[in-house]
């Protein structure tokens, strides 16, 4: 299993680790609920170096990204970033990605388990484009600093005036006196926050400095367990759960990331057709009424017992204090207030379709 440059540090700090996407990653330090609340109320520091980073250089970089991504990449001005999808010709999702527009290239951040697949996909479709693709994942440390105190903490360890960095803004700067870094106002928690990219050699120093600098503000190291609960509440999709090659963007509620009128891109024809016909399934929020916790893969049925879908993510949501789930269900059952059963260990447990996101993101815009 792969380890990030901070692995020994995590273990020394008491983290429990777990396999995720081929990586041995910290799942929690002191407890998922405590880490979750620390991020919502103060700040959390996440080692997300398992994520992949691919640089796209060359005169055709924009044209190439327009060809492979559903988002209108032309709207991502230099110094900005945005969310996008890579789709197959049939409309299924290769991966969800973040595209950062830097002065000399585009930086594409992809999911850990998909780095090789995505890099291969990008290489395969770069024929005829004057671009150079560079997979810098193995050399790059990526940290997320998230939460209402993130800005104040980061501001003390960088030469960049992060108070002036826009939502989804990205800039090159220096951390901890001499560490060249990319600093972006992005994240995956529903809170204001930042993601930082720099070379592995600096990993331990930056990690330690941030934790020390943020101690008085309540900054805590956060594992993947709370990363999942923090992204679940504001309904941020997770590859392998809400999105996959078997799920199209309209089913996943990600139609807003698909810009059909921007021109040609892979999957456009299929997606036009899916949109026109209406998706057969929809991603809904469920609140459990009966006693039970919904988990990924549990069947969803009508009260009459007909199976009509499946849970994609479910847990007791720490901020909301309710047992909640996201589920892909037959489109005609997606209306708010619809009563459905989640089949928990062969027992139907009543749930109701509720509004999503469960938690309103608190981005600084």
């Amino acid at each position: 299993m792969k380890r990030t440059p901070l692995y020994d540090r995590h273990v020394a700090m008491g983290a429990k680790t777990v396999e995720f996407g081929g990586w041995d990653m910290p799942v929690q330090y002191t407890g998922i609920i405590e880490e979750h609340q620390a991020t919502r109320n103060a700040a959390g520091l996440f080692d997300i170096s398992h994520m992949g980073q691919i640089n796209v250089y060359g005169p055709d970089a924009l044209r190439f990204l327009q060809h492979i991504a559903t988002q209108d990449v032309a709207t991502i001005a230099e110094g900005l970033a945005n969310y996008a999808l890579l789709c197959y010709p049939d409309g299924g999702i290769v991966d969800d990605i973040f595209i950062y527009h830097l002065p000399h290239c585009y930086l594409v951040v992809v999911n850990a388990s998909n780095v090789d697949k995505d890099f291969g996909w990008m290489q395969e479709h770069s024929q005829g484009f004057n671009v150079q693709l560079e997979n810098i994942s193995a050399a790059t440390t990526m940290l997320a600093l998230q939460g209402p105190k993130a800005e104040a903490i980061l501001d003390r360890v960088t030469d960049v005036d992060v108070t002036k960095l826009w939502f989804h803004g990205v800039v090159e700067g220096v951390l901890c006196g001499d560490v060249p870094a990319i600093i972006a106002r992005t994240g995956y928690t529903g809170e204001d926050g930042f993601e930082l990219f720099f070379e592995n050699a600096y990993a331990e120093r930056v990690w330690n400095s941030l934790l020390q600098e943020g101690q008085a503000d309540g900054l805590k190291p956060i594992g993947l367990g709370a990363r999942d609960s923090l992204r679940f509440e504001p309904k941020l999709a997770l590859y392998g759960h809400e999105i996959s090659d078997q799920i199209n963007p309209y089913e996943a509620g990600l139609g807003w990331v698909v810009k059909l009128d921007k021109g040609e891109f892979i999957g456009r024809e299929a997606l036009q057709r899916i949109k026109a016909e209406g998706p057969r399934r929809k991603l809904v929020g469920l609140e459990m009424i009966g006693r039970g916790i919904a988990r990924q893969g549990y069947p969803v049925a009508t009260p009459e017992g007909e199976t009509v879908g499946e849970v994609t993510s479910g847990m007791p949501a720490p901020t909301l204090g309710k047992n909640l789930a996201l589920a892909l269900v037959r489109a005609d059952l997606a209306k708010l207030g619809t009563e459905l059963d989640v089949v928990v260990r062969n027992k139907p447990v009543r749930a109701v379709v509720v509004k999503t996101p469960f938690y309103q993101s608190r981005y600084k815009k």
Partner: protein, 134 residues
């Protein structure tokens, strides 16, 4: 990490503990198990009167992240369950050997089955072996 493993209890390799008290045994999950699970947010217990076979799952404990089965360390009939856990499952974390007990059982083959259980020293070794596998 240090785990509390009382000497007067017996343990199953699946991390349940057993306290023998006359013709009734009390069963719960070990400190190692509760630490491995993390914050317990939900518990499911069998009904009183149900007959369990050794090794059979009798309940479920769930953390934020996952659901885990709990297995009967001995065969027998459930004589009592700790209903307080249904409303306060976090007791499994705070007091796994006391207030966090899960059920009482009238064993049907205590003599035959109890030598399958580990004493505290053997169980500690077992948890160390499991931890080092990771």
């Amino acid at each position: 990490m240090a785990y509390n493993t009382p000497d007067d209890l017996r343990y199953a390799k699946t991390h349940e503990w057993v306290r023998v008290d006359g013709d009734e045994v009390t069963i719960g999950i070990s400190d190692y198990a509760q630490q491995a699970l993390g914050d317990v947010v939900f518990a499911e217990l069998p009904s009183v009167g149900r007959t369990l076979s050794a090794g059979e799952p009798f309940g479920v404990v769930e953390s934020v992240k996952a659901a885990s089965d709990v297995y009967a360390p001995l065969s027998g009939e459930v004589s009592a369950i700790n209903e307080a856990l249904l409303d306060a499952p976090e007791t499994l974390n705070s007091d796994p050997y006391g207030e966090g007990w899960m059920l009482k059982l009238r064993p049907s083959n205590l003599e035959g089955e109890q030598n399958q259980l580990l004493d505290a020293a053997a169980y500690t070794q077992h948890t160390e072996d499991e931890a080092s596998k990771h």
